[in-house]
């Protein structure tokens, strides 16, 4: 299947219809921007998700920071490939994930300690970076799970969707406190939340084939 210049076609599950990564990297090194665009279509989410997982607090506070590190990761990828010449990595996905992770660590270490009040949390992020990367392809499926959950949320009725908007108020507090904050009876909140979680779990299982079975009930610590 020939590459489209806009590179916007949807994911094609048939491998015989897709140029492999090595082919695309070779095209990219030959100056074909459509090849690079196709690589970005495949792996930009992986790059962004890798950064997000490594520095989740930082990314939620400053979405531009995520853009910036992802952008640096892509330019680093192009430069590395240009240096590597005819020896591209065996797995572009694994290479990009590693590159994004290292960029994130480097950027987190450069954050100014005095001027950034979030430095304590940044320190926490650095600690979590010792966690090794999962298989890049399994990371991609996790992003797809998030996508699927988004679509499942859109299928909920308004009242249930409004309840998921109070997610942190519910998960961070005791049931009684959360119910008071939301102006509901505790038993009402419990049953409504249980219903929402069950419907979302069923939806996810139906669409992904994975188990997201909720526990009997969230304990009240």
């Amino acid at each position: 299947m020939p590459l489209q210049p806009n590179g916007e076609r949807p994911f094609d599950p048939d491998p015989s219809h897709k140029p492999d990564d090595g082919f695309l990297i070779a095209g990219m090194l030959g100056g074909d921007s459509a090849a690079l665009r196709e690589l970005m279509n495949r792996y930009d989410r992986l790059v962004r998700y890798t950064i997000f997982r490594q520095a989740r607090d930082r990314c939620t506070r400053d979405p531009q920071w995520l853009d910036s590190i992802a952008s640096e990761s892509w330019s680093g990828f192009v430069r590395s490939m240009q240096r590597a010449g005819e020896q591209p990595p065996k797995s572009a996905a694994a290479y990009l994930a590693r590159l994004a992770r290292n960029r994130t660590i480097s950027a987190m270490r450069q954050l100014p300690a005095e001027s950034d009040p979030a430095v304590v949390e940044a320190g926490d992020d650095l600690e979590s970076m010792s966690v090794s990367l999962d298989d890049p392809l399994s990371e991609l499926t996790r992003i797809e799970d998030l996508d699927t959950l988004q679509s499942c949320l859109s299928e909920l009725d308004d009242r249930s969707r409004a309840l998921t908007g109070q997610l942190e108020a519910i998960t961070d507090r005791r049931w009684r406190e959360a119910a008071e904050a939301l102006g509901l009876k505790e038993s009402t909140l419990r049953s409504r939340w249980k219903s929402v979680v069950e419907r979302l779990s069923r939806c996810l299982e139906r669409k992904t084939g994975k188990q997201f079975a909720p526990g009997d009930d969230r304990s009240d610590l």
Binding site: P63, S71, V197
Partner: protein, 157 residues
């Protein structure tokens, strides 16, 4: 790593609640947007990376320029570089910036700039920048050089 272990700091969440929390953070971080990079520009080497408000390297050069500017300004208010003798008009007139006073000559000057009462060193290269012949390349020499500096596309006086 499973979904539930993503939020180890939160208590007793079931897997779906963990995914919900992650989704909320992901939306806040704009995770599902595309990275603002133009592949064609990236291959040309002129990357338009997402803007960063502070570029430490730039700040470093701005600071250096500010310090030099301040030093020159102060020098102009005081007698010449500790000698008490300002450069005379004949000395200034005798200054000739090498190679047309261009950027390359400026680079030479900065390499030779050693401050007051330091030997000019690198005979044959730095001596030519010691305009007042006091054995060093200091701010007095810099001012003389500034007066002679004509820019890259001008002839020397």
């Amino acid at each position: 790593m499973g979904w539930s272990s993503m939020n180890a700091n939160r208590k007793q969440l079931d897997p779906l609640e963990s995914v919900l929390l992650e989704l909320k953070d992901a939306e806040q971080a704009n995770l599902f947007a595309r990275t603002p990079v133009d592949p064609a520009a990236l291959l040309r080497g002129s990357v338009c990376e997402a803007p960063r408000l502070v570029r430490p390297g730039l700040l470093r050069w701005v600071s250096a320029a500010a310090v030099i500017g301040l030093a020159v300004g102060l020098w102009q208010l005081t007698p010449n570089g500790g000698t008490g003798l300002p450069l005379g008009p004949n000395q200034i007139a005798s200054v000739s910036a090498p190679a047309g006073g261009d950027a390359m000559a400026r680079g030479d000057f900065l390499l030779c700039f050693s401050g007051p009462r330091s030997a000019a060193g690198q005979e044959g290269v730095c001596e030519s920048h010691d305009f007042d012949a006091d054995g060093d390349v200091d701010l007095a020499d810099f001012q003389a050089y500034q007066l002679a500096y004509a820019g890259p596309h001008h002839k020397t006086r």
